[in-house]
Symmetry: C3
Subunit: 358 residues, 3 copies
């Protein structure tokens, strides 16, 4: 399981969660304090006073200044100590680590790595975001009691849907349909078409299919733990092009995984769809269905995590369906090794390395 990739943008919170009240959340194992400045821009600091380690979140926010609740040390938004009560000289070590933040897609993205490498251009692009004809559900959060790589395994693994999600987004027609895998420098794609099949429960409910259907599952996993799934259903036999796909029932499901600890993960998700748009009731239905689906994953992955911790083993047998998960893990391992080498040699990792890590 090792450590985490630090030089990457992770979702730290939904924008709505960050305000003038402190928000605290553990990210990559570290306690992070978030708030908004009086001008509305978000700030993230390590939630730990460098004096006696009291959580800064137990103190007060005074304007843009964070004041420790133990002895009143004050820190600005960069984490620099600007006041020690009763002591004119401020020790240089009285510094709190701050983290770059970028707000995009209603989410606050955090960079836990080398500050110099934090480039907002590297944040994943959410296609069709607020595009006419496509409806958005966002602001969703789940807490997984599992290492994030068990979840990325799952998110490039169409095969599990037949079993884990038989009541929601899978059905028996997919059982024997092999998954194909493609790989880029920063991503892995696992996909398959299930042809001439009964529509899945979701398609029956939301669509208007008279007979059998073809449906696709394209699972993209971007380094280190951003997933999006292009998921759709069309009438069986229609030509496979973007136009026809967009005429079918189609959705893009984005899952932003942020490791909390080695064993737990924050799971932020948003969803873009082209069907039943402009209907709050359907938004609620889809949200409920997606939540149910992810909770099915949560249950099985928590059990897998427990068994892994107990045995110290991750898997005993590798199957064909593990091709994509194995590629992801290899890419992640390679990047972690590069970061560790950089840390040991004191030669910072380069932006080029970040972009060609696969």
């Amino acid at each position: 399981m090792g450590t985490f990739i630090r030089n990457a943008w992770y979702v730290a919170a939904w924008s709505k969660e960050v305000g003038r009240q402190y928000l605290t959340r553990r990210i990559l194992g570290e306690p992070v304090l978030m708030y908004r400045k009086e001008d509305g821009s978000p700030v993230a600091l390590l939630d730990r006073c460098p004096h006696k380690l009291a959580p800064l979140s137990l103190g007060e926010l005074k304007g843009d200044i964070v004041e420790c609740g133990y002895h009143g040390l004050q820190f600005d938004c960069s984490g620099t100590c600007v006041r020690v009560p009763g002591q004119p000289q401020i020790p240089p070590a009285a510094q709190v680590k701050s983290f770059p933040l970028v707000e995009r897609y209603n989410a606050v993205w955090i960079w836990m790595g080398e500050e110099a490498l934090a480039n907002p251009d590297d944040i994943v692009e959410v296609e069709r975001y607020r595009m006419p004809g496509w409806d958005l559900i966002d602001g969703q959060y789940l807490h997984f009691k599992s290492n994030y790589l068990n979840i990325t395994d799952n998110l490039v693994d169409p095969a599990h849907t037949t079993y884990v999600h038989k009541n929601t987004i899978g059905n028996a027609a997919g059982e024997n349909v092999t998954v194909k895998v493609e790989q880029g420098e920063q991503h892995v794609l696992a996909y398959r078409w299930i042809e001439n099949a009964e529509p899945i429960p979701l398609a029956k409910k939301m669509g208007d299919f008279k007979g059998l259907t073809d449906r696709w599952q394209y699972y993209y996993l971007l380094m280190p733990s951003i997933s999006y799934v292009d998921f759709g259903t069309v009438d069986a036999g229609v030509e496979r092009n973007e136009e026809n796909k967009n005429r079918g029932l189609r959705s893009f499901s984005y899952n932003f995984l942020t490791p909390e600890t080695e064993n737990t993960t924050h799971y932020f998700w948003l969803h873009v769809r082209n069907y039943q748009t402009g209907k709050p009731d359907i938004d609620a239905d889809v949200t409920k269905l997606m939540t149910l689906t992810f909770e099915e994953d949560m249950a099985i992955l928590a059990a897998v995590q427990q068994a892994q911790e107990e045995t110290g083993v991750r898997e005993y047998v590798r199957l064909g369906i593990d091709n994509a998960p194995a590629r992801i893990r290899k890419m992640v391992d390679k990047r972690i090794a590069a970061e560790q080498l950089a840390a040991e040699s004191n030669v910072p990792i380069t932006r080029a390395e970040l972009q060609v890590a696969g």
Copy 2:
């Protein structure tokens, strides 16, 4: 504390607990899944898919076939994988460990060791089971927060009854009566007669003693952790033979201990008695009394276990009453060492060794 003896029959469950719904129970530290085949015979498998370690119990039972709830791998009752969805070749390593089971005395007995050595003849004989004139109580279960050897200590230790069970099966008359010990190849027996004593509370309630009594406690402990206690009361001074004993108030109490973990134990018990037979009310009374008695043991043994874990010490002073417990532990240690030697040398332990381990 070390490990467990594996080559032995342990009670895994009462028969009534095992059906077409999965039953899961940790035994000798391992998660075990139990169910009945369509023909009614019981099956036990390790509750862990060899693919990604998901508990098989989260999936479905399809006929006699166990299907993993994660990716649909299917296993037969021997634990052999018979299907990997989407993949024609089944990897040979896709094998789940299965455990021999035997059903006897309304209980399902499991063999966690070398399959070749599993011989149902080695299951303990419950004397007077369903014999006319003797009533049976069975199906009883308690969970002890204690290593099983602390419980076997207790079960060859008549001396504790005076103190731990002063409200139920002991009284002050036994305080100074020395315990005698005999040992066979597979068992230890600790026993004593308490003579010319007030009847204990149980005997007063269930019997019809006019004056003082003689009572006996014969505590048998069979390797590794099967206890039975021959317990009875007769009028003081009558000749000690089987006929007179059976005319007195007599019971046989069987306790089948199955280690759950190093620190916890499953405690299955049944009880055979010759008094107040055919009366469901009395059955309920005896069950209540026995349960109360064992709960007295549970409390003290949980406290002992905690103190042992905290100090890393099992006992500071050895007393005369520890003779039988010490013999049991020595027999168990010897057997565990033999099993470990067999495991290391790849020369399986023999049935002869199992039978002469004392």
Copy 3:
């Protein structure tokens, strides 16, 4: 964090807590059993039978004799085994550790170190205890989820009151007033005067100050973990002598810290004051206010303890206000080292060393 100073008097309990019912409390990591003999004098024994480690507190008190609830071993008040049922010879190792106790100030003081060094004269003197014109609150107890030295840090640290206790005993006037420190052989004193300041909330409520005030905080910390605070308010500008101080609003707050474990501490406190005396309502108010104040400390110190355990670090930056805490820790470390040396060399620590450890 290391270990504890053993050769010192700690409060084990309030007198009212110790009676003919067993009281158990963990002290310096060890389980201690306390009770009163029939003549009313208190006894403390290690709560662990030397036979199989059962807690003696699960057994019965018979007269002055402690009887184990497992096998009936009996121990006198010195911890010597006086009976093993069923066995005439008592093994010499059947000995329970006993601890010297002294009853003073309505509290039972325990000595966990070398018995020969236990001298009741070394118990701290509580000045003005039951003196006319001064009211007493005692019998108070709080449980801190923090190592005791984080609490002693806090108890020689007037600076934290401005922040942690801004709603009770501190206010902003103290923010920049430097703390002075003095040190003796057995104590550290941190103190300051806050001059020409608004009265604090407590003084406003309890006193009758027309204008600004001078107030003092004298924090004494006696080895290893006895704190008392001389705390008072007078009209601004009056001459600083005992007579004037006693005419002001004055209190002495005693905090007797007894380490429970490395991470938790028993916090016994009593309070002596010269204002609003003879009024049970005010006693209740003061008790409530003090409890509230200490609970403010509890919250921040529990968070500090957690951060220390997580990081393995106690502090990153040392400030001027840490002068007194650092002296305390140095004195404690030195004493612990002396005790360890004595233990290793088998040359007992001397009373002289105990008294000049600073």
